[in-house]
Symmetry: C3
Subunit: 302 residues, 3 copies
Amino acid sequence: MELLKEILNIRGVSGDEHEISSFIINYVLQRRNQWKVVPEVFYGDRFQDNVVLKFGDPRTAVFAHIDTIGFTSRYENQLVPVGGPDVNDGDELEGEDLLGPIACKIKIQDEKVFHDFPRGILPGTNLSFRQNLRIGEEFIQGAYLDNRLGVYNALKLCEDLTDGVVVFSTYEEHGGGSVPFLLKFIYEQWEIRQALVSDITWVTDGVIHGNGTAISLRDKFIPRKVFLNKIVSLAEKSGIPYQIEVEGAGGSDGREIQMSPYPVDWCFIGAPEDHVHTPNEKVALKDLESMLALYRYLMVHL
Amino acid sequence: MELLKEILNIRGVSGDEHEISSFIINYVLQRRNQWKVVPEVFYGDRFQDNVVLKFGDPRTAVFAHIDTIGFTSRYENQLVPVGGPDVNDGDELEGEDLLGPIACKIKIQDEKVFHDFPRGILPGTNLSFRQNLRIGEEFIQGAYLDNRLGVYNALKLCEDLTDGVVVFSTYEEHGGGSVPFLLKFIYEQWEIRQALVSDITWVTDGVIHGNGTAISLRDKFIPRKVFLNKIVSLAEKSGIPYQIEVEGAGGSDGREIQMSPYPVDWCFIGAPEDHVHTPNEKVALKDLESMLALYRYLMVHL
Amino acid sequence: MELLKEILNIRGVSGDEHEISSFIINYVLQRRNQWKVVPEVFYGDRFQDNVVLKFGDPRTAVFAHIDTIGFTSRYENQLVPVGGPDVNDGDELEGEDLLGPIACKIKIQDEKVFHDFPRGILPGTNLSFRQNLRIGEEFIQGAYLDNRLGVYNALKLCEDLTDGVVVFSTYEEHGGGSVPFLLKFIYEQWEIRQALVSDITWVTDGVIHGNGTAISLRDKFIPRKVFLNKIVSLAEKSGIPYQIEVEGAGGSDGREIQMSPYPVDWCFIGAPEDHVHTPNEKVALKDLESMLALYRYLMVHL
């Protein structure tokens, strides 16, 4: 869990993923020689802050977004949301501008969001929730489990992956924009036509803590039924606990895969969480385990 | 009209177009040798459930979406809409899950949509309106005229088409996602820069039953004026009855053609219908005739 | 300013940019031999009504949209908006249909928009605000400063540009659709990975008349932070007056650059205006000057 703790403390508001991106690149370059298969690593200017790993002879790609929700400072102590944070008066924020580090609280006045930092903050500075990680016997709780758990899942998966592509993507929380060129790259290079979205979903009336990772049959967007059928039947065969999710709202990197000019099937598979997009996101450790187990199984059998 | 009756009875909710897709592929493979020009047929994994026919030396593509609106079953007898069905209490639905065939009714409670099927339905199962086709002297009425009439129009057009591409597309009712890669394919293969959208529109205060197929000058999206002018002037020359449509809302496969990274002009041409997205969609047979006649004319002269 | 006056009098409602496009092509072909570097000019069928100029060895592209907001005539004297015009009862409109030139006024009844032209207007005809240009010591005021000023800025920039791409784009006001194929072209030809959006923004509580061109750090969409940092630090070095803008809403050609399947960084830089999307848009001449000066500086140093 040291890796998980580490990435839970690295900031990466959408559009400002440089730091988490560098961490992943360094981590991969240092570790990959101990992995079962040493992946090729693609990053740099042509990839903006995204990272692509290619293992063996890939058929399926895993997408894990590395960005988080947050806030952009505006004028007169105003904050503009990045993605869809669930804000509450008194939430603690952190960040940094040219004048130094920032720690402040959210104040809500007349339904507008302000910060209370005394010296003012340079306009355009990104702020995010202060991390307050709590790991118990059954649950992990803190800010940005969505999607640091999905990133952790993807990095752990790398350890014994033989064939596949692992993509660390940016901008997911704020409407996307990097999946189109990432998909273009992996389709043109290796004709990848299957994708799994390693991300965190919601606890709802049909998906609860502790029953295993959710396999989402739809959210606002609808994957192709023949692909879903294949995944559910493999999950059934695997013996790994899982739950079926059916929603009418919400989206993920899957949306951009769906809309892209490449014929790539996709499915969202991830542990469910409570208190979504607050500093107190909560996930059952068993669901995280089942998530990783299912990814390992599917990347072999799909 | 046997072909039309047949395809009006094949289900194909967005994302689940496998059955209607197979029907079209088989129909085309069986019939194409009797057509004026034998088309090349493109389908299979690289096309998901879409089908592309290429006739002669093509300049223009016709898009007919093969999916329909419908519902996905959720938990506790809830239904989530696919596309934008116009639901009414008591509407009859059909479908099938692993436990067998399903026939049930819609119940609306507190503005939420439920089904009344006694044994429950596996989450993720697609349901659609029960077909109740009525063909009279002047009108055809039933479920899914939108867009089985557009598909019928495209298949009839094939019989004497000499040059052109005919595309049977998926996902139109639910936000799209297949037109981008289809357009990429037909542009890269044959540099197609003109597209007609063979789909069904609305009866409104400016477009009425019996006055001919509608040529849409805009909906929420706006085709390029120079292309519209060319089409209207050809329609005028043809002597075929038509109506001009101007709307501020609504969309079609044209939206995705507009937004794609290919410079392709498009225009929606289709018969108007009443009771849109209900089990009682209604179209004048004369408008369907004029639709086919105009497509035949335009595919030669455009 | 003669050039500016001229283009402020040329109509070009989104989808109907043929006239302004032709003007730009002719202007460029006539003038380019007097420019510091003679650009290659790309236009014609494969570009619809867009125009691309390529100077020297380009690293950065400038996008200036040539379309304007307006109205499409419907049935029974109704008008459907193109883009988001801010309409007021009595606003004067102009246009032309097959029956001749049109001059009329807007009438708002029951929150619907009508025109008062006696003879009726052919459905599908585009109308735009009558131009009423007022140039004073400090301000310019009239219709369609957004984005004729951005086009003017781009054309003046051409005079001493050595390396760069200048793109005149269509459809920006109405959801876009041309930037995707333009971006594909300039990325595939010259691997352009930096873009500046030459467009007009809003006077707000943080951005005021006379303080210089705005550099937008975000609107509804968020450019990549590392690119913004580079631009702001160059602007600072340049000594040219500028203002920082941070918004949570609004969009530009930048949105489509963000969403495209090409890894292109972007930033919106433009003078602020009052009375946006009315016939009385108002911009400070000093801000227009600073806009041009900053583009000249950035195209050399970026």
